[in-house]
Every structure is written in structure tokens, then in C-alpha cells.
């Protein structure tokens, strides 16, 4: 009896404390929204930047912001894990509860960003773009990825590339090979490498998105950027000769990969390349940071890069962008932060630390290493496209596509894969 009573008392006090705490936490934002210029104005920045480089970069960006707006208290609300999927889950619940963060990280394009716009959760930023002159500072093709019906909804902070073939230069030199620019060259190289006991293509697939990225690049290299864009925007059917051919090429490439892909994370695949156990790997250029920062390799001699086969002149982009949640009560702090985020100074501080580059046309090239400089040059002249899983298609389609991918790799059944993808496109329409 006494134990029960004590427990009940304990519970009641916990409850009381909880209520107090809840009152405390709700009262803070109300205060700040009523007086935005007071010293306790708060700005919550939501992202999945918890890695060493990315959190350092974010902190320095916040530093630049606080130099200009010293009275705003920035709260870094980064959520770790799952390449952003955990953060997206937390974000979805906060948006659902009408408690959006000040601003949040999302990929440019037709993925989650478009879903948030469609749900009416984003406010347009046209006047900010006008005031800051950003319509001239960023490439039009990039800004188009942030627009719906002429309204622009986000500010890009960095630029990354998805269609990169990383390779081990000493292996290629040793066997007198050149990095493949076409699929037939790729298979010619691959058979030579395989004959010498080297895994031609290192593959990781612990997260299921890695093979989806590879497939996207193969499709892009097979049908070309125009047709690729049509397929990904629902203007052309998946049930076509090009998709079938790309799927067959993809399956053929799988024969030249390591058998334990399902157990590896992307870093481990790149490690195979760095250590000379494998010759090539297809990965976004976040791999570059891994090569230089973690493995201390020199760009060009320690590791080499080329566009994936058939994709020269095309830049498959991944860009982190930030927008203004429409249900946010105090918008001033967010707009000021976006101003810094899109500025030359903000981007030049942030990007070199993160291992990405600034998508601004006036970005300072000298701040970057050899790889990033070559990527910047391609970005300015190439056709921009998006990748499935990195902002290229809506989340529902992407999930169904990744599921179909799992089955394709085991069953190698091309027609059933294509029909699965087609029904996924019907259930989750790809056109805007």
C-alpha cells in the first residue's frame, strides 16, 4: 500500500513538473515572437548535418550570421542518422503539429521540397530574391528546381554532384586502362580488371539508396539527359526500350561488383577503391571529402574522377536548400538567416569546410581544391538533372522504386522490375 501511494505521489509530481516544463518551453517562443528585436529572439535551424565536416561548416555559417545579427540566439536542431531519414521523420511530426523550425534542410527538386510546397507548408521567397539580386547570382536551371508556378520557395546553400565515377589511378596506370566514358569501354576495362583479380566496381548497398543512385546514373548515361528528365517527370513512360536497355546494363554491371555490397556502407566501398582492392566506384561527390579528409589522399594522384559512363556534359545535382515555413510565427529571423545563407560570404565560409561548393555564379574558385574546381566548371556549363532518391522524384515513388530495386538485384527480372516501377509511378504521379 505504502509503495503504491509513494508511486502515485511520485507520478503526480512528475506530472506537475512535466506541465511546468511544458509551460516553460511554450512561453519562450511566444515571448520572442511578440518582440523580435529583443535579445531572446530564437531561430531554430533544422538539418541532418551532424558529421564532423558538416557540423563544423554549419557552425561557421551560424557564426557569420551572428556577426550580423548578434541578438538572435540560433538553436542548432540537427538530427543524426539514416542519411537524413531520421531528421525527415522528426520534421514531419513537427510540421504536422504546426510547430515548424525556423528553417530546415531539404534537397532541391521534386522530392520532399515539392511535397512540402504542395502541402502549403512553404512561403514563397520571390521578394527576398528580388531584393538580394539572387535571380542573377544563381544559374536559372538551378532556380527552376526551386520554383512552382513562378514562385520560388528555397535558397540553395551548396552543390554536390551525383554522377561521378571514382577510380584508383595507379590500378588504371598499371593495366594501361583509361577511365571509361561509354558502357562498352566500362565492360572492356572491367573484364581486364576481373582477369587480374581486382573487383572492377566497388558497390555498397547497406542503405538501399546506393544502388538506386547507380541505376539513376546508368539510366542517365543510356537515354541522355533530355529523355531522362522526361521519364523522371512523368512525360515519358518507364515501359520503353531505353529503360529496358539501361536495366540490362545495370544488371550486367552488378556482375562486376563485390559480393558483400549488402553489408557495406558507401565509405567502405570507397575504401576498397582507395586500398586498391577495387578499381572504381560510383558515388556522389561527398566521397571526395572521405578520400581527402578521412583517408588523406591527394586529388588526382590518390584518387581520380570522371563523369559516369555516357554522362559527360551532364551534371546530376544534389543541392541542400533552406526555405521559409509558412506556419512560422516570427519570420524575420528566418529571412535574415536566409539572406546570409544565400550571400557570397556565407557560402564561401560554409562550402569549403563542408567539402561542397557554392552554386553562386560569382563563387570564389580559389577557396576550393582541384576536384571541387573541376566540378564547379562542369556545373556552370553542363545540363542539370536530378537523381532518384536525391530530390529527383517524390518520396512515395522513391520508396517504391527502392523496393523494386531490392527485388531486381535478387531476381534479375527486368520486365517485372519495369512493371513495378510503372505502377509506382501511377500510384505516386511524377508530373508536378
Amino acid at each position: 500500500m505504502t509503495i503504491r501511494k509513494r508511486a502515485a505521489v511520485a507520478l503526480t509530481s512528475v506530472l506537475a513538473l512535466g506541465t511546468l516544463a511544458a509551460c516553460g518551453s511554450t512561453s519562450t517562443p511566444t515571448q520572442s515572437s511578440s518582440s523580435p528585436t529583443s535579445s531572446n529572439t530564437q531561430l531554430q535551424i533544422f538539418s541532418w548535418w551532424t558529421g564532423v565536416a558538416s557540423s563544423k561548416a554549419l557552425k561557421s555559417l551560424i557564426g557569420v550570421f551572428n556577426q550580423q545579427y548578434p541578438h538572435v540566439k540560433v538553436v542548432n536542431e540537427a538530427v543524426a542518422g539514416g542519411a537524413g531519414s531520421n531528421a525527415k521523420a522528426v520534421l514531419a511530426s513537427r510540421m504536422e503539429a504546426n510547430n515548424p523550425p525556423g528553417t530546415f534542410q531539404v534537397h532541391a527538386g521534386r522530392g520532399t521540397l515539392l511535397s512540402w510546397i504542395a502541402a502549403g507548408d512553404m512561403a514563397p521567397l520571390n521578394s527576398l530574391y528580388q531584393k538580394e539580386g539572387w535571380y542573377q547570382d544563381f544559374p536559372q536551371s538551378l532556380l527552376n528546381m526551386l520554383k512552382v508556378n513562378g514562385k520560388i520557395y528555397a535558397v540553395p546553400v551548396d552543390m554536390q554532384r551525383d554522377n561521378v565515377l571514382w577510380y584508383n589511378p595507379s590500378i588504371f596506370k598499371k593495366y594501361n586502362l583509361t577511365p571509361p566514358t561509354t558502357f562498352s569501354q566500362f565492360f572492356a576495362d572491367a573484364s581486364v580488371l576481373k582477369a587480374h583479380g581486382i573487383t572492377p566496381l566497388a558497390l555498397a548497398n547497406h542503405g538501399n539508396w546506393e544502388t538506386t543512385l547507380l541505376y539513376s546514373d546508368v539510366l542517365l548515361g543510356t537515354v541522355g539527359p533530355t529523355q531522362y528528365d522526361k521519364i523522371l517527370t512523368g512525360k515519358a513512360s518507364w515501359n520503353s526500350a531505353g529503360v529496358t536497355k539501361a536495366t540490362q546494363t545495370f544488371l550486367k554491371m552488378m556482375q562486376y561488383t563485390n559480393s558483400d555490397a549488402g553489408a557495406l556502407h558507401w565509405q567502405q566501398a570507397d575504401q576498397l577503391v582507395a586500398q586498391g582492392q577495387a578499381a572504381m566506384n560510383v558515388q556522389g561527390d561527398w566521397a571526395q571529402g572521405y578520400f581527402t579528409t578521412d583517408l588523406h589522399l591527394t586529388p588526382g594522384t590518390g584518387f581520380g574522377w570522371a563523369p559516369t559512363p555516357g554522362t559527360k556534359g551532364t551534371f546530376a545535382m544534389v543541392s541542400d536548400v533552406f526555405g521559409l515555413p509558412s506556419k512560422l510565427k516570427n519570420q524575420t529571423a528566418t529571412l535574415n538567416f536566409l539572406k546570409v545563407l544565400g550571400s557570397e560570404k556565407g557560402q564561401d565560409t560554409f562550402n569549403p569546410l563542408k567539402g561542397t561548393f557554392s552554386p553562386r555564379l560569382d563563387a570564389n574558385k580559389s577557396l576550393y581544391d582541384a576536384y571541387s574546381q573541376s566540378a564547379m566548371a562542369s556545373f556552370k556549363k553542363d545540363t542539370l538533372v536530378l537523381t532518384i532518391g536525391q530530390g529527383g522524384a517524390n518520396p512515395g515513388f522513391t520508396q517504391a522504386f527502392e523496393n523494386a530495386m531490392v527485388t531486381l538485384i535478387s531476381s534479375k527480372n527486368v520486365p517485372s522490375f519495369i512493371s513495378a516501377v510503372q505502377s509506382a509511378a501511377q500510384a505516386n504521379p511524377l508530373s508536378k
Partner: protein, 325 residues
């Protein structure tokens, strides 16, 4: 587990009977009032949200726009017809059965070993229970390294001269393999690696519970068996084991609940695996809901899991209540 309850109940009855009636009435009212907060919390945060999930699972809310229009059972039809969810249900059954069986057998063996009046018993007990203190995610990462077919324990097998080494969780084989509709019915070989990791982590729990059970078997019973001429094996099989029925039931129910909820281990160790051979409904639910934004379909998976869980726990709770009365 069943036996130690009795003395506690006895003392509780005596303390309840002592005070005068008037005080007891006040006591009851007090008990009721102090329970109100927890009743409200449970009502809102458990049952309220279960009801909400049930409702969402019957709507068209399959994007970031909360479309709460009526969909009937369409989401259930979608998930049950999908290859992935069918595979999930197969995996769940196989995993639950093997995990519980492994737990019971190894837990019992460990309990019997520790029960031999050995020196430093506490040390061994702690060693066996210790894996439980590790988070499932850590277990998953460790075992994914140990059982990585190219770099893990297979290196030892290679060194010992074995040429046919297991593929562990990367295997896409089924034993036996019977086609049923879209999926293969059988034991996915890849899943066995996950079972090994789970049993490693949780058999210490079974040991602890069994040890309690073994200690509560009356000495007289064992003595009587000995006098009747039963050997140690016969004593265990015919005298001790029947006494542990309640203990076993407790372990089965608790572990079944843990098994139905398994997520971290799979997420960290294998992901959904070769052709979904190590996928689980929970992982599917998470990805469907938070990566695919299909909230209604995710809720449908959650409700199916809830019903499965209820199928295990409701009979157990009912029998416990009956026993207490």
C-alpha cells in the same frame, strides 16, 4: 516467476484486512484519485493514439498533405498484396519462433550451469546477462562486422581450410523453398544471422528468469524424486521442467513481444537484406511512413502489428488476472 508472486499477495491481503472499514473507503477513493493522472496519460498517449492510428489507416493520407478522406480497407489491401509485406510476415514468424526457441534452450542451459552451486556465481550471472545492457543497435553493428562474409568470422574458417563458408546475412537462399504466390515460404538463411545476434543478446534474460524459477522449485520435490530413484536427467525432465511451465510462459510472452517489435537490430545489422529476406514489418513501417510519406499505409502496418501483439499478450494477461483472483 509465478511462484514468488504468492508470498507478496499473501502479505498484501493481510495489510488490506487490518484497517477499519471507514479508513479503507477513504483509502480507495484516494487510490482512485491518485490514479487519475496516469489513467489520463495512458488514455491519451496510448489508447488515444492507437485509435488515431486505426483511423488514419482507413484514410487516404499517403503524402505530406493530410487527406483524411475515407479509404476503407484499401491501405490494408495494398500492404497485404505487396511482396515486401508478405515477406515481412514470413520473416516475422520465422524469426519469432527461432529466436524464442534459441532463447529458451540457451537460457535454460546457462541457468542450469549457473545453478550448480559454483564459485563466483555472481560473476557468471553478470557475464551472461551483460549483453542485455547493450543497445540493440550496437549489437547489430558488432554482429554485422563479425558475420560479414568477406571480412568477419569467415576469415577463420578460410584459415582452417574450409572452402564452403556461410554467406550469413547476405544469403538469399531459403531452406526449404516453397513458392507461394509471389514469395518463397521457408526459412530465409540470411535471417539466421540475425537470430544468432538476437539470441546472443537476450538469452541472458531467459537465464535470469529460469534461474529464479529453478531456485523456487521446492527442495522436497527434488529430494522425493531422488528417493524414488530418478537420475538427474529424469529429475529435470519429469520434476523440475513441469514446475517451470509458468516461467517458460512468461519468457515466451515477453520475448515474443520483443521479437514483434524488433527494429534497431535489423536497421543497424542488415537493413531489409537480399530480396527482403531480413526485412521486418517495423522497418517497412518506418520507411513507408517517414521515407515514403505514406502515413495511412504505415498506420495499417502498425495496426496489423498491434493485432499480432495482442494475439500473444491478451491471453497471457487474462490468465494472469484469472490466477490472481
Amino acid at each position: 516467476m509465478a511462484n514468488p508472486v504468492t508470498p507478496a499477495k499473501a502479505t498484501r491481503q493481510t495489510t488490506v484486512r487490518k484497517p477499519a472499514r471507514r479508513i479503507r473507503g477513504w483509502d480507495n477513493r484516494m487510490a482512485f484519485f491518485t490514479l487519475i493522472p496516469s489513467l489520463i496519460l495512458l488514455g491519451v498517449f496510448v489508447y488515444g493514439f492507437i485509435a488515431w492510428s486505426g483511423y488514419v489507416s482507413l484514410t487516404n493520407w499517403n503524402s505530406l498533405i493530410p487527406t483524411l478522406t475515407w479509404a476503407g480497407l484499401r491501405n490494408y489491401a495494398t500492404i497485404f498484396s505487396s511482396f515486401r509485406f508478405q515477406s515481412d510476415l514470413r520473416n516475422l514468424v520465422v524469426f519469432t519462433v527461432l529466436f524464442i526457441a534459441g532463447d529458451l534452450v540457451i537460457g535454460m542451459i546457462l541457468a542450469l550451469l549457473v545453478d550448480q552451486k559454483i564459485r563466483a556465481e555472481g560473476l557468471f550471472r553478470s557475464i551472461f546477462i551483460y549483453p542485455m545492457a547493450i543497445s540493440m543497435v550496437v549489437t547489430g553493428v558488432i554482429w554485422s562486422w563479425i558475420l560479414n562474409p568477406t571480412t568477419g568470422i569467415n576469415l577463420f574458417f578460410h584459415a582452417l581450410g574450409f572452402t564452403h563458408v556461410p554467406e550469413w546475412f547476405l544469403s538469399s537462399r531459403f531452406a526449404p523453398s516453397v513458392h507461394l504466390g509471389q514469395i518463397d515460404i521457408g526459412i530465409p538463411v540470411g535471417l539466421l544471422a540475425v537470430v544468432i545476434a538476437a539470441v546472443w543478446q537476450m538469452s541472458g534474460f531467459a537465464m535470469a528468469v529460469y534461474l529464479g524459477g529453478l531456485r523456487s522449485v521446492p527442495e522436497e520435490l527434488k529430494e522425493a524424486a531422488r528417493i524414488d530413484g530418478a537420475g538427474p536427467w529424469r529429475t529435470f525432465w519429469s520434476v523440475i521442467l513441469p514446475q517451470l511451465k509458468g516461467t517458460t510462459a512468461t519468457i515466451v510472452v515477453i520475448q515474443a513481444a520483443a521479437s514483434l517489435k524488433v527494429f534497431g537490430l535489423i536497421y543497424a545489422m542488415t537493413g531489409s537484406g537480399q530480396d527482403f529476406s531480413t526485412d521486418m514489418p517495423n522497418l517497412n513501417m518506418f520507411q513507408t511512413t517517414f521515407q515514403g510519406d505514406a502515413f495511412a499505409q504505415g498506420a495499417a502496418i502498425a495496426i496489423v502489428l498491434l493485432l499480432l501483439m495482442a494475439a500473444f499478450t491478451v491471453p497471457y494477461v487474462l490468465s494472469m488476472l484469472r490466477g490472481e483472483r
